[in-house]
Amino acid sequence: AAGVIQSPRHLIKEKRETATLKCYPIPRHDTVYWYQQGPGQDPQFLISFYEKMQSDKGSIPDRFSAQQFSDYHSELNMSSLELGDSALYFCASSYGTPRRSYEQYFGPGTRLTVT
């Protein structure tokens, strides 16, 4: 079965550079979520989109932005990268209207290393 695809899987950037992470949800899923997981930390919710509109916002820094496109894929744009941005970034997708309990399926993650 198709799963959530994230690209790239690994990314190395220098401080103050920008990075773009991509997420392709499971076919027919209309909701995308982004999570950040620092080393040894639990995943922290960043932002989510439903039907191409921002649905919910968590602890996403102002230096980050994201959007969901017409084909439902999503991109997380990160600017002025800091060392503390080094983490595993997960995308998850689900199907259904907001505020309903649907399972979220996670991608393999993008490991971002900022040097």
């Binding site: 979520y33 930390q41 995943p43 919710f45 998850a92 505020r99 309990s101 399926y105 393999p108």
Partner: protein, 110 residues
Amino acid sequence: SQQGEEDPQALSIQEGENATMNCSYKTSINNLQWYRQNSGRGLVHLILIRSNEREKHSGRLRVTLDTSKKSSSLLITASRAADTASYFCASSDYGQNFVFGPGTRLSVLP
């Protein structure tokens, strides 16, 4: 805001034994989900339990939910070395996003 917390943070057992991990949360939830994560890898969905359910089974997994105590437990029976991973609970209120707990690192020794 709600926060999931698992205990124990680390658990080592022998193959064949049962492993129980607990999770607590702070506010009302719509559902709670358990995930497994191998070191540095993605999160694999294990089981979802809704707020009106008390117990759910899936293979060797058994999840309970006690909304009066705001807690959940994940029981893995007859553990195997391949069950070695970190296990997270993630609670969802009537919004969409999850709040993850710190995870329990389970080591199953052969």
